[in-house]
């Protein structure tokens, strides 16, 4: 009990923000704000999922576009062609993504593919799925897949944003808990050791291939579920939005700017980027220069983070403590 109270005090800001997020739909009925919040939480969830292998594990994966798309298409196909409820479709999509993650992990990590080469191989995999899915008519080809509108919990489709919000909020909580459990477990220490010095980790008895593959599969599983949620949110998916390298990179940026290898970092990064991009829409485009600068805000943010706080925005928390 004592530990719980101490932990609560240490992370009181985080708990407070979570609480605010929890009661948000009760405080405000603004549909636009709620839509933005749904996107914030969705990206937080996706960022947290990538962070497991990318942040803690240090393996920069661009295969998460593949995981995302597999989850989206699986959920969509199982429902439109077989009538299976998306709740089950989500899980199956997640498992298929996990299997892909396991296979890629075994192949790449057996050959000791690291760093840049790992990044290239994972990029190729996402690209592969995009190209292939363009040519499969069963799943809609380049025109994509539309969900028939059927409102209800069984169909995982809702008119308003409140249900969507609480569902993705619950997913994000699960991702937070999983991250926390891993961070405090043997696997968490192994991942950090592998990230910092794989040879030294191996010399200490850490089976780096097993750890990386397992985490990669888990990360894929969660991301696949995220993809399934996405298709239910937008009623539509196509090869470009499903197997999107752009989305993958966007998520990576969120984690880096927010802070890799932490729980708060991915969430901060996601909120930062989504809110920023929403605010940018309201800037009057009178001055072309101003417009250009604001559009490049993401690049500027990344450069600032890289130069001044490469541990991410979350590292400001330590500076605050230090200044006290």
């Amino acid at each position: 009990m004592q530990n719980f109270i101490e932990g609560f005090k240490r992370h009181s800001l985080g708990y407070t923000l979570l609480f605010i997020l929890l009661i948000l739909p009760i405080i405000t009925q603004n549909r636009v704000l709620l839509s933005v919040m749904v996107m914030c939480v969705l990206y937080s969830y996706l960022a947290l999922s990538w962070n497991l292998i990318g942040g803690y594990g240090g393996q920069f994966s661009l295969a998460h576009g593949a995981f995302f798309g597999l989850g989206a298409y699986t959920t969509g196909i199982l429902f439109t062609k077989f009538g299976i409820t998306p709740w089950v479709g989500l899980l199956i999509g997640g498992f298929i993504a996990a299997i892909l993650g396991y296979i890629i992990g075994n192949l790449t990590f057996s050959f000791g593919l690291k760093g840049f080469f790992f990044l290239l191989v994972t990029l190729a995999i996402t690209q592969f799925f995009m190209e292939v899915s363009k040519n499969i008519d069963f799943i809609g080809g380049p025109r994509g897949l539309w969900l028939p509108a059927k409102i209800g919990w069984y169909y995982f489709q809702f008119r308003g944003r409140i249900e969507y919000y609480y569902i993705i909020f619950a997913f994000m909580l699960i991702a937070i808990i999983i991250t926390y459990l891993i961070e405090k477990s043997k696997l968490g220490y192994y991942l950090v050791a592998i990230r910092e010095d794989e040879d030294a980790a191996e010399a200490c008895g850490v089976d780096s291939k097993k750890c990386k593959t397992l985490t990669f599969a888990l990360s894929g599983f969660l991301t696949g579920i995220g993809g399934g949620y996405y298709i239910q949110l937008f009623f539509f998916i196509d090869p470009f939005s499903a197997f999107s390298i752009h989305l993958n990179i966007y998520i990576v940026l969120m984690v880096i700017v927010g802070g890799t290898g932490t729980i708060g970092g991915p969430i901060i990064g996601a909120f930062f980027f989504v809110i920023l991009s929403e605010l940018l829409r309201f800037i009057p485009m009178q001055s072309q220069l101003l417009a250009a600068i604001t559009k490049s805000i993401f690049a500027i943010a990344l450069i600032l983070v890289a130069i001044y706080f490469n541990k991410g925005i979350i590292s400001l928390r330590y500076i605050a403590k230090y200044l006290k």
Binding site: S185, K186, Y189, D197, E202, A203, C204, G205, D207
Partner: protein, 243 residues
Amino acid sequence: MAILEIHEVSKTFGGLVAVNDVSFSVNKGEIFGIIGPNGAGKTTLFNTIGGFYGPDRGSIKFNGKEISNLKPHEVCKRGIVRTFQICKPFPSLTVEENILVGACHRNPTLKRAKRDAEKIIELVGLKEKKGICGSDLSTPDKKLLEVARALASRPQLMLLDESAAGLNSTEVIKFMDFIKGIAEEKQLTILLVEHVLQVVMNLCERIMVLDYGKKLAEGSPTELAKNPEVISAYLGKEYGKNA
């Protein structure tokens, strides 16, 4: 009783034969040194024993069982642990957490691994520094941490790769006593690669000399000090002639 048997091990990289038909054995409980000029193949030999490379030819037996086909973490689990020439602490983990990583695979739960790590921190004398991050340690402390992390894996055989490098003469003596103490207390066999002859001559019971990947000589420190081939390899042929 031989704990490690190296039999006709060779390792080639492209055209370079780094280790050439080397055979020797290390007895349980002894401190065995490997010396030789730079480029003699000492670190390659260590990497091969440790599982980072597989030998192109030959066999490596530990406690009678072949280990040449094992990966580094498997070699570690069998009871051989290796430190690195250039210290490799995990930079963003604390001293305590560094040692914990080594202790994890020997303990079923994280809690017990933490207890193990605590004991080793005490043994090694890093208690006041246990909260310091790996990247902020001084060089002698980094070396202590390397050894501590290795000890956490509960090895039977420890491979020390130029552990005394970069230490001044006082620190070398302290380090030597420390290694000797640890070896006795934990009943370790130690195989060390060294350039600092003070360490080799005073600590090792038996020594092997490598030169250009080949075994040049093997024997006690005093025997080797008189061996003309060893002297020429180290100091040049003129000195060897006069021995």
